[in-house]
């Protein structure tokens, strides 16, 4: 009789532990989902800001057509990749980031533009949106790391395998310049 009760007790304890681990995994997965949604919001916000920026800047930057076109092109590509996976999207958004960085670097040559209040407000928004993108990416990756740790570490890996938690994909924005070897020409 006692053996039966002990057995029942062990089963009950195991079920409670299982439920706790399962709930923990669900919480982490939802955290990852929320974090992803947050990145999405910020990326969209950046897409929305760009036409406005181009419009404001165009009049001042007559000689920077290529830079402006690169930004518009990168934006269009990024908008097409909205429903793609984290890896693909990271690449396209990275290109947009570097195109924008080039544009904002060129701005230094146009003192008139830097005195334009409309542009200053846009610049603040863009700078902050870039920050928000990197902070939301940071939080997303932290969440993915926690989630992956939990799906791989004992004993929660057993629960994860039984119930189909597979961990998430990290989001890395690849900035083009970072990968390219600088070209030096003596011409």
């Amino acid at each position: 009789m006692l053996a039966v009760w002990v057995f029942v007790g062990i089963v009950v304890v195991l079920i409670i532990i299982f439920a706790a681990i399962f709930n923990g995994l669900v919480r982490l997965r939802n955290q990852v989902k929320n974090a992803w949604a947050q990145i999405d919001v910020q990326l969209k916000r950046r897409h929305d800001l760009i036409p406005n920026l181009i419009e404001t800047v165009k009049g001042y930057m007559k000689h920077e057509r290529e830079t402006l076109e690169a930004v518009t092109k990168a934006r269009n590509l990024a908008m097409k990749a909205v429903s793609a996976g984290a890896g693909e999207r990271g690449k396209v958004e990275g290109e947009l980031s570097s195109a924008l960085a080039r544009l904002l670097a060129v701005v230094e040559r146009y003192p008139n533009l830097k005195a334009n209040e409309n542009f200053l407000a846009l610049q603040e928004e863009l700078t902050s949106t870039e920050n928000k993108i990197s902070f939301s990416r940071q939080y997303y990756n932290d969440s993915v790391l926690n989630y992956n740790n939990q799906t791989q570490m004992f004993p929660s890996n057993i629960v994860a395998a039984m119930t189909g938690f597979r961990g998430g994909e990290f989001f890395e924005i690849k900035v083009a310049e970072e990968r390219e070897v600088p070209k030096v020409s003596f011409g």
Binding site: S128, K132, L145
Partner: protein, 400 residues
């Protein structure tokens, strides 16, 4: 842990005072709990409005200060906070900031206008990260609970001492049976009455300091840039003016102690905040941005056990967290042109005090006319335009 200790102190005080005055320990404990409960309710429902009301804070919209709003939102995202906190600006040249609100979903961040002007973007981010960390770690609720606990102990001890004093020695009921036990109970009661408030105060300070370190560590984690907070703290430390409207109860909520005065180093045991120099040293010693990195830097600086709860460190894992580079806007807001502007303003004031007249010429030159200038017109030395001198006294006259 410390909080539990403090709760035990309150219960022990209630227990012995109950034995002394009502002959029943339960009665004392119940009274202690009722006092604590009522104060908690008041603090819970009134806390943030009281704090913000006292400080004279004014709530801002995103359009009022886009930069500040953006920085708060950045930190909200970095910390994974679900709801955007309200933002308040306190019109005060003193440098300080605080967070309040009983839950992460109903929180506020307040910052003095002086601080807003003095800090660059990275520094501001560090400060806001610290405040958001207080919200995220639920420090506000914790500190309110601890300070209410402290208040209850102080009130209980104070009233008991009055009661004992006026009631006199002869009327205490518990001594009726006489014997050593009664005397011991009275002795313990008296000792607790005297020591409990002091002990509670010290525990309160210890809890507060610990949460400050944790908030610093979290801020470094969110911003990935401990240097921002470190240099902001340095600026805060050198300003040396207290915040109007701060009081003892609200002190732990500020980023640095609002009562500090220049030249007076605060005693480490009786302070709500750790010494700024030490916080800066720990932040600058961090090799990465994770909580583990902070813990290591802390142990190096102070030795012994660290400050970060083991549960937080376990989640942290051994992930490499690189520090980021300073932002492009690393130079302070108060840069060169602004300083020239301010210098001009001051010198203009001095001229006017000496009764000089000021006439702006169309070419941008400012002409200053001495008080006893004989001619009605003056030629601009730059562009040669003839300017008429309008004296202030005349221009202010109704017909002039």
């Amino acid at each position: 842990m410390l909080v539990v200790l403090m709760g035990a102190l309150l219960l022990a005080l209630g227990y012995f005072l109950g034995l002394i005055f009502f002959d029943s320990a339960v009665g004392g404990v119940v009274i202690a709990l009722i006092i604590w409960g009522v104060m908690n309710l008041v603090a819970f429902f009134q806390g943030d409005s009281i704090l913000l009301g006292i400080s004279g804070a004014r709530k801002i919209k995103p359009s009022d200060n886009p930069r500040l709003y953006n920085i708060v939102e950045e930190m909200k995202i970095a910390s994974g906070l679900e709801k955007m906190p309200d933002i308040y600006i306190i019109d005060d040249p003193a440098l300080n900031a605080f967070a309040t609100g009983r839950s992460p979903n109903r929180a506020s961040v307040a910052i003095t206008s002086g601080l807003l002007q003095k800090l660059n973007r990275d520094e501001l981010q560090g400060v806001i990260g610290h405040e958001i960390a207080h919200i995220k770690n639920r420090d506000v609720l914790l500190m309110v609970m601890v300070s209410v606990l402290l208040g209850s102990i102080v009130i209980l001890a104070w009233y008991a001492s009055r009661f004992m004093f006026f009631a006199g020695a002869g009327r205490r009921s518990s001594v009726r049976g006489g014997g050593q036990l009664g005397i011991i109970i009275i002795l313990v009661g008296v000792v607790l009455m005297i020591l409990a408030p002091i002990a509670a105060q010290l525990i309160y300070y210890a809890v507060s300091r610990k949460r400050e370190y944790l908030a610093d560590a979290s801020s470094a984690l969110y911003t990935r840039y401990p240097e921002g907070l470190a240099s902001a703290l340095e600026k805060l430390a050198t300003s040396g003016t207290g915040v109007r409207g701060a009081n003892k109860a609200t002190a732990p909520m500020y980023i640095v102690n609002p009562f500090r005065k220049k030249g007076i180093s605060l005693q480490s045991l009786t302070s709500t905040h750790p010494p700024v120099a030490e916080r800066v040293r720990i932040l600058r010693a961090m090799g990465g941005a994770s909580l583990t990195d902070y813990e290591q830097a802390y142990r190096q600086a102070k030795g012994g056990v660290g400050v970060i709860p083991a549960t937080a460190l376990a989640l942290d894992g051994a992930k490499p967290m690189a520090l980021r580079a300073p932002s492009a806007e690393a130079k302070p807001v108060e840069d060169f042109p602004q300083r020239i502007e301010r210098a001009r303003e001051t010198s203009g004031l001095v001229w006017r005090l000496n009764n000089y007249e000021t006439i702006p010429c169309d070419c941008g030159t400012t002409l200053r006319i001495p008080p006893n200038f004989p001619l009605p017109t003056i030629k601009c030395p730059h562009c040669g335009k003839i300017n008429y001198i309008v004296y202030r006294s005349q221009s202010l006259a109704p017909n002039g």
